[in-house]
């Protein structure tokens, strides 16, 4: 790997692979070796090499929140949240309420029960993002949830989404893509969300297949539109140049019968689990991406063949690697890096550590190490980084969830299948930005429950000079030396807009500390992973 020039760069590397810097992280990093090159290598190896990525401290925190729901098997989640909530529709409180108020209360109660799995997952995820020592791993978990995006705040998807997180994405976030893809495509929440749960041979529903091609594998950049399939040429590598609508339709046929055991049409089984329904399956020959899928195959084989073809295609590798680079390197990664990683990715296509190995390649690459296109934090990234540095005892409250989602991003709450954007422009819109600023101010002013602020140890109560106050807070929050103009601005703010170096009276101290800290987290430096 390339040599790291200086420690500022090391801080920026840490910021780019985690949810944000804090003293604990930086101290741990410094203890790993004598220079940044050695430390970085050890840090990355360590971050990607846990047996289970469980941080005991975090699990304890999660347990105190009464998050037992997290451990229920899927069929229990289905029974106790989906079926029970559905049954509540038939209770007198909803069927024959005496007042509108009673009806509203009954509906709220039903909704709370139905959505409990996703709400609990949301809370646990915040805790893990902010507190877990396995920061890179947690970011990959988020990456795959964005990739296989599901809107989870729905009665039918909430149980399956939790199962996707716990049983597929968390165990496989650094594993093999083909295996993860296979699990995701059998996830009941995804099958509902993309309508494949209703896909049957007599009249296929193509929504799932289209998103499988466009989002999960080949990507829109390999979509050739409405061309005839026969006119798509094969390259020298034997792969077709891209996909057309015909491939989507044929693939939809291959996934007919991949549904959910939910007691509907022709099914008594009602466990909320994946179910292959032979009577709905189209048994006849299909051609997908130029490959023949023969008639009368064994159960599930048609769909698995499609997944094999898709995951082996170099276009899929490039699409995934572009997304990975967009997450960690730049909004506009170079094709050189993307292609190099895609080649490596394909060479590990059968490896159980394909994702981890590729990440190492990425994190050791010159483009990553020397990258200067600092990524703009999305709202969730932004609040996580703020809490990591200022609220070591953070635990999400309902008001915290409400306040943070105003900036346009809520965990598991993106409605369309493309997932929340991973480029800066949409999040830099004035609306989104001002909302994040205001929420950050409210957190620092202790107006949001669950986010107690712990001021840095370096901030001495006896110290009341506006300038020293500003310098100490700047260094503690932004972890670098302030530039002159920034420090002047902070000092002016600390002095209440007056150019004075007089010590602040005690009664103003709290307000001024807050204002200075607010400006630090509202600054351009803190909006990016720099």
């Amino acid at each position: 790997m390339a040599t790291l020039p200086m420690s500022n760069n090391a801080l920026s590397l840490l910021s780019r692979v985690t949810y944000g810097l804090n003293q604990e992280l930086v101290q741990a990093f410094l203890s790993l070796g004598k220079d940044d090159t050695e430390r970085w290598k050890k840090f990355v190896d360590d971050q990607l090499s846990s047996a289970n990525f469980i941080d005991e401290k975090v699990e304890k925190k999660i347990a105190t929140l009464d998050l037992k729901v997290l451990n229920k098997p899927l069929n229990q989640l289905w029974r106790e949240h989906n079926l029970s909530a559905r049954a509540m529709r038939q209770t007198p409180a909803e069927k024959a309420p005496s007042t509108k108020k009673e009806l509203r209360a009954a509906r709220r109660e039903r909704r709370d029960l139905a959505l409990e799995p996703v709400q609990v997952l949301e809370a646990a995820t915040w805790i893990r993002m902010v507190h877990s020592r396995w920061q890179v791993y947690e970011r990959m978990v988020e990456f795959w949830h964005d990739h296989f995006n599901i809107f989870g705040y729905e009665q039918r998807t909430a149980p399956g989404l939790l199962a996707l997180n716990r049983d597929a994405i968390r165990p496989m976030a650094l594993g093999n893509f083909r295996a993860l893809l296979g699990q995701a495509c059998r996830n009941p929440a995804l099958l509902y969300y993309l309508d494949n749960a209703y896909n049957q041979s007599s009249n296929p529903n193509e929504n799932f297949s289209r998103e499988l091609f466009e989002l999960h594998t080949l990507g829109a950049e390999n979509y050739l539109g409405t061309l005839d399939r026969e006119s798509v040429e094969k390259g020298r590598d034997g792969f077709v140049a891209g996909y057309v609508d015909g491939d989507v339709y044929e693939s939809a046929r291959a996934f007919t019968g991949w549904r959910v055991a939910d007691g509907s049409v022709g099914l008594d089984k009602n466990t909320g689990e994946f179910h292959y329904h032979e009577p709905w399956h189209d048994r006849f020959q299909k051609i997908v991406l130029g490959q023949k899928i023969p008639e009368h195959q064994a159960p599930l084989k048609d769909g698995e063949d499609v997944l094999n073809a898709l995951s082996a295609h170099p276009g899929t590798a490039r699409h995934l690697m572009r997304k990975l680079c967009r997450r960690f390197v730049s909004d506009t990664p170079t094709e050189v890096l993307v292609n190099r990683l895609a080649e490596f990715w394909l060479s590990r296509k059968d490896s159980p550590t394909q994702i981890k190995d590729t990440l190492l390649q990425l994190f050791y690459s010159k483009e990553f190490l020397e990258g200067k296109d600092f990524k703009f934090k999305r709202p969730v990234d932004y609040f996580a980084s703020l809490l990591r540095i200022l609220s070591p005892d953070f635990s999400p409250s309902e008001k915290f969830i409400q306040a943070t989602q105003k900036s346009g991003q809520r965990l598991f709450g993106w409605k369309t299948p493309d997932g929340p954007p991973d480029v800066s422009a949409p999040w830099q819109s004035p609306q989104s930005l001002i909302d994040r600023w205001r929420t950050a101010q409210q957190i620092i002013r202790q107006e949001v429950p669950g986010c107690p602020i712990k001021w840095p140890d370096t901030l001495k109560v006896s110290e009341t000079s506006p300038q020293i106050l500003s310098k100490v807070l700047f260094e503690a929050i932004l972890m670098r030396e302030p530039d002159k103009q920034f420090l002047e601005t902070l000092t002016l703010l600390a002095a209440g807009g007056r150019r004075t170096q007089t010590a602040l009276p005690t009664e103003l101290l709290e307000e001024r500390i807050q204002l200075v800290a607010e400006l630090c987290v509202l600054s351009p430096e803190f909006q990016v992973r720099s």
């Binding site: 529903n205 289209r210 979509y223 346009g408 819109s429 609306q431 989104s432 930005l433 202790q446 607010e518």
Partner: protein, 415 residues
């Protein structure tokens, strides 16, 4: 640190779309009623409504006559718009009728303040949401042609204050430096006392203006805060207006309030999602699409009424989607991605009460790839004529590059 949970407006609203800052909807009560013809109107406000997800134009307006009615009914036994019964379509012309759920739009059409353009579409057909929305937003014929939005390119030559209503900036405004006055949800602005806010804004402007930072986005946000103050709206926080509930009504109500009170406003965009009806579409009665359509229609009719009576602007609204939906329904009683789609136009400047463009027909041979309504007009031509309302000298190539313009549609009255 002391806790202060009693701040007047802190999180009093639930959900991301609560609105409070705006004036009560004065239209009919306090402000003098003025007929559309009596007010002297000397400016244009353009409202662009993008129905994202593939709006089912064939579930909105249906053919009523041969030779199109038979294939329509055959293809849509469960999700077609019926001509009789409780949900019978409302006749618009001899050949087309309106889904009864859209009833609030009927009088507007009859008063010739609304028109439809048949079968608009992309020059390069695409059934991918991503690809098609991108082509529409960027106003391009192929990927890579532009990296800015069609509205941004228009604004560059003809700047005006612009409001994008929605949580995020739409790609149609990609690359625009205009300060965007965005929707004001409850408590939009910084936290703190007026004095603290002033201090903070000065400080932010200072650090966002440092030469070494590429932080224009921060300046744009601060400019927006200034703009909001300049609107000089009366204080509303205490006097909560009777705003409708629900995302769609609130977005339109916001648009109406902005148009009424911001005299510099020239362009408003609204993004409305929720049209990707692959299953249980429910075109009529209590169905999903019917409800969504009814909500949209009421919101559009309200916008029309509000802006007609209470502004001195010509307000023209265009409603479009990235593609239409397939003629034939699917097994889940939904519809899949299609091609051609109608565009709706609303306002006094619209040549209303009629259909524009060319109807390609629904018989098998006339369908695009024998499945979808064909496209006979380039969507960009509709956009172009729409933009010309504000900039009569505008050339097609000013916004849409060298690409060929399709035939003139002549959708609007000239002054």
């Amino acid at each position: 640190m002391k806790n202060n949970y009693t701040r007047r407006d802190f999180l009093a609203a639930s959900g991301a779309l609560s609105v409070s800052f705006f004036l009560p909807r004065l239209g009919n009560t306090i402000q003098p009623q003025a007929s559309a013809n009596l007010v002297e109107r000397n400016r244009h406000v353009l409202v662009a409504v993008f129905l994202r997800g593939g709006f089912d134009g064939l579930g909105f307006i249906c053919p009523t006559q041969a030779p199109d009615r038979a294939p329509y009914e055959a293809a849509r036994p469960n999700i077609g718009v019926p001509l009789s019964g409780n949900d019978a379509a409302l006749p618009l012309t001899e050949s087309f009728a309106l889904n009864a759920a859209a009833k609030p739009l009927l009088p507007i059409f009859q008063q010739k303040q609304m028109a439809f353009v048949h079968a608009c579409g992309l020059v390069t057909p695409s059934r991918s949401h991503f690809a098609a929305q991108s082509l529409v937003d960027l106003g391009s014929t192929r990927p890579g042609e532009f990296n800015s939005g069609w509205l941004s390119r228009f604004l560059k030559a003809h700047p005006c204050r612009t409001a994008a209503i929605g949580a995020l900036k739409p790609a149609s405004l990609l690359g625009s430096d205009e300060p965007l006055v965005l929707p004001r949800f409850k408590g939009l602005g910084l936290d703190g006392s007026p004095k603290q806010q002033r201090l903070m804004r000065t400080a932010l402007r200072n650090i966002y203006s440092r030469p070494q930072d590429d932080a224009r986005y921060g300046i744009a946000a601060l400019n927006m805060l200034d703009e909001i103050e300049n609107l000089a709206l009366p204080s509303l926080a205490k006097n909560l207006p009777d705003l409708p509930s629900g995302e769609i009504p609130q977005k339109f109500a916001l648009a109406a309030e902005l148009i009424k009170h911001d005299k510099k406003l020239g362009l408003v965009t609204l993004d409305i999602g929720g049209w990707d009806t692959h299953r249980q579409q429910g075109t009529t009665g209590e169905g999903y699409f019917a409800k969504q359509l009814a909500t949209l229609s009421t919101a559009l009719a309200d916008l029309h009424k509000e802006t007609l009576s209470a502004t001195d602007a010509w307000v023209t609204t265009i409603v479009f989607s990235e593609f239409g939906r397939r003629l034939k329904e699917n097994a889940s009683r939904g519809s899949d991605h299609g091609h051609g789609n109608l565009v709706m136009l609303m306002g006094s400047k619209v040549k209303g009460g009629q259909f524009h463009g060319q109807w390609p027909g629904l018989i098998h041979e006339k369908l695009f790839e024998r499945a979808d309504l064909a496209a006979t007009s380039d969507l960009r031509q509709v956009f172009f004529e729409f933009l010309k309302l504000r900039a009569p000298q505008l050339q097609f190539t000013d916004v849409f590059g060298k690409s060929i313009a399709s035939a003139q549609l002549d959708l609007f009255h000239r002054d």
